[in-house]
Amino acid sequence: MISVRSRSKADGAIEFAFAFALFALAAAALASCAPIAFSIATVFLFAGPHNWVEARYFLSRLPARFGKYKQFFSWSFGGIAVLMLGYIALMSGMSGGFFTATTSSIYFGAWNTLFILWIVRLIVLSGRWQEQSERGLALPFGFLAMAFALAFPAWFGLALVYLHPMIGCWILDCELLRSRPGWRRTYHICLAMIPFFLAAIWWTLHESPSYNSDSVLISQIVRHAGSQVMPYASSRMLVAMHTFLEMMHYGVWLIVIPLISAGWKNFQPVSIPIAHRSDRFKRLVPGILATSTFTVVVLWICFALNYSITRDVYFTLAMAHVLAEIPFLLKTIPK
């Protein structure tokens, strides 16, 4: 009986692993062959829709009543709003030339410090680490991260860019634990393949010449991949690695999570628990989904009209989803 059950739980795991490996191989091959073109295409096609799916998933995972986690959710939403406003002000000030290099470095340091302190507060409030002995480590590790962020701000920013795709994979792991526990072992093996694909990209492109173009768009993409932080590395390789990771992130959000998470078959807003909180929320939730859909369409139009400016604006505003992933990850990590 047990063996039949466990076999049924692991059903489809092999197909999942095969599809994952094939997807990763295709992403790595395309990213290596045409890094810039692939980067432009993936952001144009998938950036908006993946944010839509993420918003839909987060809404479906929000409890109807916050109960004892009211403080956690208040800190989450408050923190996202404050950090987001600060980030937009910082980016606008920098692109408008209102700040000197020293002032922007101080503001960036302050923003990074607030960001880390917010995560420490959420770790303590999340209730995932019940023991004082485990929770007590959040602050010293937070201070260590703050010291790193202040001493090496460029590296800290780059770490966020490269680690963000991995947070999506971590959320998928938590979702698998909930809906397909039999697939988790296979998924972990699939995740272990990612460093090999990155090593393959490095091996293929580490000696390739860097991009030396006057194009604003190419310099934007190359800067985003960290060419200023690592001028000694081939920018072609950096763009390929970053695009590969981004594509894996988009794949996780656009294909795997909708397929495996329970309740995804029903796209009706009624299936979202928080919609049942009150009449106001019943109207608010479809409104949020309609606005998100409209935003995705507007984003596509803006990308088609002026890709470079839209990319800059998108990656500034997309900080909101990077921030939103943190409380959701903390809430989904098993106790």
Binding site: T102, I106, S133, G136, F143, L150
Partner: protein
């Protein structure tokens, strides 16, 4: 007088051209002053060490308290006898 005026005008033009050139190509921006972030990073690093130390001391204290509690429970035979008699 006319020559002087002409020279003044030429000087003004030259000055304006030089200013414009400086505006167009201001040279590389000065690197940011990293003193304040580095000082705060040092403070954060020290605080991290202090809090790691406090955590370690607390752990030791908790472990000792647990050990003392289990030792005192083991060295009280009367409770055991009572429990045994009760269970009989």
């Amino acid at each position: 007088m006319k020559t002087l005026n002409l020279m003044a005008i030429i000087c003004c033009f030259l000055a304006a051209a030089q200013e414009a050139r400086a505006d167009i190509a201001p040279g590389p921006p000065p690197p940011p002053d990293q003193t304040l972030p580095l000082v705060v990073a040092g403070i954060c690093h020290s605080l991290a060490i202090v809090f790691f130390g406090l955590w370690f001391v607390n752990q030791r204290k908790a472990a000792r308290a647990k050990l003392a509690q289990s030792a005192s429970a083991g060295s009280n035979p009367r409770i055991d006898t009572n429990q045994l008699s009760g269970s009989r």
